[in-house]
């Protein structure tokens, strides 16, 4: 019950953070700024959508995490997927709306005889975040392995009961 409540609260927070908050901020931005951004080739609507989709995925994963058995393979997949989605959001943020630049984003603007290009190089941070992601996946795997070992160690006396006994029959 506690785990489920936590999963539901996490899901609600994620919905608020990635679905509702960007839209509230967008509605508060001055129209002039939005016009300038769109002139510089940045589609703010696509940026919001780009945050909403991983936000919904994280919400779903948080709900799943709250309802599945922690020792199950689904729980392991859910936890790893959740970290992968967070990594995608990091790529998205660093790439100023384009995650597949992998830290080397470019914005081109200007008009008339002048053209201005901004190139942001943050590949070092992406490499750093990838290292952290790797450590997290290893840690999750160890945690799940630890749980499995513990549960199998606890149930091992039952395993020694001879076959045909009532104790090992499934209910």
């Amino acid at each position: 019950m506690r785990r489920r409540t936590r999963g539901i609260i996490n899901a609600a927070l994620l919905i608020g953070l990635f679905v509702m908050l960007p839209r509230v901020i967008l509605s508060m931005l001055p129209a002039e700024l939005l016009r300038m951004l769109s002139m510089d080739g940045m589609d703010i609507g696509m940026v919001i959508l780009g945050l909403t989709i991983p936000g919904l995925a994280l919400t779903l994963l948080a709900l799943m995490g709250g309802f599945v058995e922690p020792r199950s393979p689904i729980s392991l997949v859910t936890a790893i997927s959740s970290h992968l989605v967070w990594f995608y959001i990091f790529l998205f943020t660093i790439g100023i709306g384009n995650p597949w630049t992998f830290g080397q984003s470019q914005i081109t603007g200007g008009g008339g005889p002048a053209a201005i290009t901004f190139i942001l190089d943050s590949r070092f941070f992406i490499a750093f975040a990838t290292l952290i992601l790797g450590f997290k996946i290893v840690k999750i795997s160890f945690e799940r392995l630890s749980l499995r070992r513990q549960s199998s160690a606890q149930t091992s006396p039952q395993a020694e009961i001879p076959m045909g006994s009532e104790a090992i029959k499934e209910p």
Partner: protein, 175 residues
């Protein structure tokens, strides 16, 4: 994402089980947990420091006025009639990390062939300022035609040149 926590479900699950059985892989899990937290805090600090250093220095350059990047001095070469254009800059570093500023100026023909180019680099410690000068020679016939491109590139890097950004401005001259 930035601060990793041990999954409470697992802690709860583990605490009920550890009453009778010692937790396997306890040490590697704790070591990984500590490492992840340390790395995440380091990453957050580096991102904040680098972003602050780069953007504060860029805004100082943009608002620099007389000490900004685009101070241009033009002289005539009396022998050839060419123009000698010097671009001076005195960028200031208002951040917390050392920055490297590279200024490049290119003169291009309408067919994108490089006529002349120059670059200069300045390494600026936190709170300090540096200078750079780039001089270009504009041939006399190009001066008379007045057609071509002038390309300015400003590269700013910090965190031992690991991160940075560049601004490239290309202006077309139409005689």
């Amino acid at each position: 994402m930035l601060v990793e926590e041990v999954d409470p479900n697992i802690l709860q699950e583990t605490s009920t089980l550890t009453s009778s059985v010692k937790r396997p892989y306890g040490r590697p899990i704790r070591a990984l947990h500590t490492t992840i937290i340390a790395l995440e805090i380091t990453l957050a600090i580096l991102v904040i420091l680098s972003a602050y250093t780069l953007f504060s220095s860029l805004s100082a350059i943009i608002q620099g006025g007389e000490t900004g990047v685009f101070n241009v001095e033009q002289r005539d070469d009396p022998e050839t009639g060419d123009w000698l254009m010097s671009f001076h800059g005195q960028p200031r570093n208002q951040g917390f990390l050392e920055i490297t500023v590279v200024a490049k100026v290119k003169l291009l023909s309408l067919t994108n062939a490089t006529i002349d180019s120059g670059e200069d680099t300045a390494r600026i410690p936190p709170g300090g300022s540096g200078t750079f000068t780039v001089t270009l020679r504009v041939p006399k016939d190009l001066v008379e035609q007045g057609q071509g491109y002038m390309e300015f590139e400003l590269h700013m890097r910090t965190l031992m040149d690991l991160v940075g950004f560049s601004v490239r401005i290309r202006i077309k001259g139409e005689g």
